[in-house]
């Protein structure tokens, strides 16, 4: 044992401390009494007399606060009664007095290793306190609701069972109160409060609010046996069934069927309208497609025509040979100018100029150049062909003379001599109509010329 004076270890057989000389006789009796109460508490705990165990263990600790076994067992008993905080308190104090090789460590760890369980236990305590507040305020319904939840969270909470039982008893719910007390008594068989409330229930007059209180406690789980009675045929039930069926058929025939038909007709009409509208839209689309196809054909034809026209266009600028005759004539003319005047020969240049199609010429400068060349060259060439033609006329070669004279006329249509001898050649050839044409040309257009008089006289002499 430990000497209470010097805390040194002393043999159990010794009555005095070897170290400090303290008389241990009284202390040994005190420790013996503490152990005796611990054993008593243990016996009560084993038979679930938790309340009695608490009393014995607390007495044990009053004798010896260092009795670790008694304190650990007290913690276990508290925990079994739902007093979580009291249990933890005892275990922590136990560990304080005996830090090593103490079962309290195991108990504390077991609680702390499951935080969810610990939180549920704490929630149960908080709700119990809330329920107690409601109960003291007279809000029994709220208190009962809270207590039911408390017992779900901690089904060993003896205090909650007691409070719930007293609230049930207060509200006349005797059987519920009895069930609560029975559950509490299964946890703590000889709890004074439980027994007192049970005794109160036993004294309650028979015929409680629920009608079940009249039953004794022992018979509460026995179901009442009803007497045997043979079923008689119930005609009214059959009649009611027939009436119900008839009403159902009538409702179906007069209300539901017409409604269904009306809906079907409406649906069909809607379908027809939708179909007609769709058909009209389809026709409209087909007409639009046909019109577009026609327009497409027209446009394609127009494109083809334009393409053909475009292909047929010969761009003047693109034709490299268009201006070649003009350039050739100009070049030859420049060559001829370099010669002496009597050696010049413009016949080839005149032939080139005469064959140029000026309609294809768009350049104004080129047209001006052609006109200038013609003005310079054509009269000269015309006179040359006139001389040749006049000589042939003089040799009585009138037909050959006409070829040259016409060339002279074509190169210079003001060459009145060429016109006169054309007329004379036709006259000699007795082609009087042709001769008349050219005589009249002189008379009408060249009245001031020296050939006028002769032409007029020959015109008069022509036979009609």
């Amino acid at each position: 044992m430990v000497c209470p004076n010097c805390h040194g270890m002393v043999s159990e057989k010794r009555s005095r401390c070897d170290r400090c000389g303290q008389d241990l006789t009284l202390y040994k009796r005190i420790y013996k009494a503490s152990n005796m109460y611990y054993n008593l508490g243990l016996e009560k705990a084993k038979v679930r007399d938790l309340s009695g165990a608490v009393i014995a263990l607390r007495k044990s600790l009053e004798f010896n606060k260092r009795n670790t076994n008694a304190r650990n067992l007290l913690g276990l008993v508290y925990f079994e009664m739902g007093e979580t905080v009291a249990a933890l308190t005892e275990w922590v104090i136990s560990r304080h007095f005996k830090p090593d090789d103490n079962d309290a460590d195991k108990y504390i760890n077991a609680v702390q290793e499951n935080p969810t369980r610990l939180d549920a236990l704490n929630q149960a305590i908080k709700r119990y306190n809330n329920a107690l507040t409601f109960a003291k305020q007279g809000s029994d319904d709220l208190a009962i609701i809270q207590l039911k939840r408390v017992l779900q969270l901690n089904p060993h909470f003896i205090r909650a069972y007691h409070l719930l039982s007293i609230l049930y008893i207060k509200n006349g719910e005797i059987e519920k109160a009895r069930k609560c007390l029975l559950r509490a008594s299964k946890i703590d068989v000889s709890n004074t409060t439980t027994l007192r409330y049970m005794n109160e229930l036993e004294q309650k007059p028979a015929g409680g609010q629920e009608g079940e209180a009249s039953l004794s406690h022992d018979s509460s789980t026995i179901m009442p046996i009803s007497s045997y009675r043979e079923d008689k045929p119930n005609i009214m039930a059959f009649v009611n069934l027939i009436i119900g069926v008839l009403i159902g058929v009538a409702v179906t025939a007069f209300l539901i069927v017409p409604s269904i038909k009306r809906n079907n007709v409406a649906d069909n009409n809607q379908d027809y309208v939708d179909y007609s509208a769709g058909l009209a839209a389809l026709e409209e689309k087909e007409a639009a497609i046909a019109k577009l196809q026609e327009e497409n054909a027209e446009l394609s034809q127009k494109i083809n025509d334009l393409q053909a026209e475009l292909d047929g266009i010969e761009m003047p600028e693109v034709n490299p040979e268009l201006y070649d005759p003009l350039f050739e004539a100009a070049s030859l003319y420049m060559d001829e100018l370099k010669k002496r005047e009597r050696d010049r020969d413009y016949s080839q240049i005149a032939e080139i100029l005469r064959n140029i199609d000026t309609d294809k010429y768009e350049s104004e400068q080129s047209l001006l150049l052609i006109d200038r060349l013609k003005q310079d060259i054509f009269p000269v060439v015309s006179k040359i062909h006139y001389d040749i033609g006049h000589k042939l006329y003089s040799d009585y070669k009138y037909e050959e003379a006409l070829d040259e004279l016409f060339l002279a006329y074509n190169y210079d249509q003001t060459n009145v001599d060429a016109i006169y001898f054309i007329a004379r050649s036709y006259h000699r050839l007795e082609d009087y109509e042709s001769a008349r044409t050219y005589y009249e040309m002189i008379v009408n257009d060249f009245a001031d010329s020296r050939r006028y008089q002769s032409a007029a006289e020959f015109l008069e002499s022509l036979p009609d």
Binding site: V85, V92, I166
Partner: protein, 48 residues
Amino acid sequence: MINFEEEIEKFQPSPEIEQAEDLINNNDLTDISDILKALLKDKENNSF
């Protein structure tokens, strides 16, 4: 017969886990050994 109001008033709030530390610190751990030691100590003081 139980007086319900008085009976309910007897119920005390259960200490919550947050209060455990205060409970441990304020716990009266005096036992008979302590009392005996105090008595013996007083006796010794008075004898001198």
